[in-house]
Amino acid sequence: MNFSVDERGYYGEYGGAYIPEILFNNIEELQKNYLNIMEDKCFQKEFESLLRHYVGRPTPLYLAKNLSSEFKTTIYLKREDLNHTGAHKINNAIGQILLAKQLGKKRIIAETGAGQHGVATATVCALMNLECIVYMGQADIERQAPNVARMKLLGAKVRPVNSGSKTLKDATNEAIRDWINNAGDTHYIIGSVVGPHPYPDMVARFQSVISKEMKDQLLNQTGSELPTHVIACVGGGSNAAGAFFHFSENKTVKLIGVEASGKGIDSGHTAATLVAGRPGVIHGSKTYLMQNEDGQITEPYSLSAGLDYPGIGPLHAYLFDKGRATYLHVTDAEALDAAFNLSRTEGIIPALESAHAVAALQKLKFEKSDVVVINLSGRGDKDLDTYINYLNEKADGKQD
């Protein structure tokens, strides 16, 4: 099964480019050029060099012994949290900034939710000396102050978005509007495998370095490049797309995406798009999205600011429909427990997003002989306030 788009930009019936005519030239320019640029030897050399020397790749594949004995199987963590800027987002940001330079763009825009993609974009713009404007919902600016400060320090302009619910969905709308108004000189670095074609495919390819390394490292450490399970959290789904990508033809490998169900799947406060949503068009792409009967896009909820997106990348919609990947969902509380557990058993504080992938261990049955890889997409520094509150509440609970 191929994890790339067809020549029209679709995964089965999902994907495509649903954009206003004003963006037609920009999108067409990207569609016509992205593969040629990405396959160019010089481009690859520069991309790989930056990933190695600037980002710090390859990231370790770490055998988590304590976690393994707890679940009576073999569990590896793919340490994307050890990347420069603290998450997998930088892989895509590096790729797209090199591509933008090839296309002669002078101005970079991006959207961000938790701020990880915003920080990654601000970082590569500083490196390449390009103007950087990051759109961020006012609500997220308040929730993610340290990342806002980072972006500013890196020289990016953070534009607060006050429309709609003031979160990631609205920041994405505003970034698209900026692009419409500045189509000539601007490249829009989308942070996930969402948006109009070619973004989902392009971002998945930039992130596919994750599964490429996994295979090499597994071969070295276990003698086989194939695990039995790959587990990754899914908001838009870029780290999962990267972690699944090179296993597309390996049908024995169970691919497991983990959505955030927030306060519970039936609570009305959830971000589990594949359960609570249905197909439609969001941000230029046909995919599953959370919406009411009238087709109005509804507000997702997750304690994790990186997973509360009302859509999902069209690749995941396709893998879900075809049954090639399985999608589970994990609540805020389960993710918090998993983050706490990983901190105490392995000495690794994961991002709250990545903790959803770790929490999925509780929902799966493993054989002793299984080899499980969890893509630990980011580190938890940005979530310390949330974790401290959780610890305090836990302590209060014990006193009661």
């Binding site: 206003p20 005519e21 004003i22 037609f24 969905k169 709308n173 509007r177 189509a183 068009v281 509804t298």
Partner: protein, 265 residues
């Protein structure tokens, strides 16, 4: 049956004034009275916006009108309900304009059929790709006599203009500048060149200009270049500021059309 849009363009070639208003704005049930007022004020054509939560091609004014309409409880179903009496009130061409998701969730055939039953003549869906129009919409649009109007922008290539002209029905919507709706760009001088290019192409469709047409000056400029213009954000702003629609609509339309328009034929 002849489409009202074609009828209009057969009878009138210049200075066509089309007005956009968001359905269910500013009050629930105010769309039909606004259409009546616009008709009385001498407007040629109307576009009713389908309110959507995430209008990516729209500037702040229309975004806000969408939010208000949705807070008013407007849905596509309710909007069609309100428009039931449309054809007992006016013979003006009326189009609907919105985002594809609204139409998809209503159900494609159901949507086109309801448009037909309501007396809607045309449809503008800025985020509908041409190939999806061919595969999913074209047959339905023809069956229910709904004209699909496509957009071009100042940066659309001649080949693509030719393609769009082949498939657009009623007219072509020329976006005045590469910007979201309600921008302050006005009708820039660069457009003269674009229009020259369009005129030399001998297109099948008339051309109506929209996005950023704010007052009589812009309207006059647009009409000197193409067959007419669409006013949206400026009209919505006027409605936002006024407590009632009475008098407001006719005053606004007069302000667009009366200052001695030197291009009046």
């Amino acid at each position: 049956m002849e489409n009202r849009i074609d009828k209009l363009f057969a009878a009138k070639k210049r200075n066509i004034l089309s007005v956009f208003v968001t359905g269910g704005f500013p009050k629930p049930e105010s769309t039909l009275p606004i259409i009546e007022e616009l008709d009385r004020a001498g407007v040629d054509m109307i576009e009713i916006g389908i309110p959507f939560s995430d209008p990516i091609a729209d500037g702040p004014v229309i975004q806000n009108s969408n939010e208000v309409a949705l807070e008013n409880g407007t849905s596509l179903k309710k909007l069609f309900g309100e428009l039931k009496m449309l054809r007992s009130l006016t013979e003006m061409p009326v189009l609907m304009m919105g985002y594809l998701n609204s139409v998809l969730q209503f159900g494609l055939e159901n949507f086109y059929k309801t448009c037909y039953n309501t007396g809607i003549d045309g449809l503008i869906l800025p985020d509908l790709p041409l190939d999806e129009y061919f595969s999913d919409h074209k047959a339905l649009a023809e069956k229910y006599n709904i004209h699909l109007v496509f957009m071009i922008s100042p940066s659309t290539s001649p080949e693509r203009i030719r393609l769009i002209d082949q498939h657009s029905r009623g007219f072509i919507y020329l976006v005045s500048s590469n910007a979201t709706t309600g921008n302050d760009n006005g009708v820039k001088n660069e457009l003269d060149q674009k229009v020259k290019e369009l005129n030399s192409m001998n297109l099948n469709n008339p051309i109506i200009m929209g996005f950023g047409i704010k007052g009589s000056k812009d309207f006059g400029r647009a009409c000197s270049l193409v067959n007419g213009a669409i006013i949206g954000s400026a009209f919505i702003s006027q409605l936002t500021e006024s407590a009632t629609i009475e008098g407001v609509v006719s005053d606004f339309i007069r302000s667009i059309t009366t200052p001695k328009n030197i291009f009046q034929l």
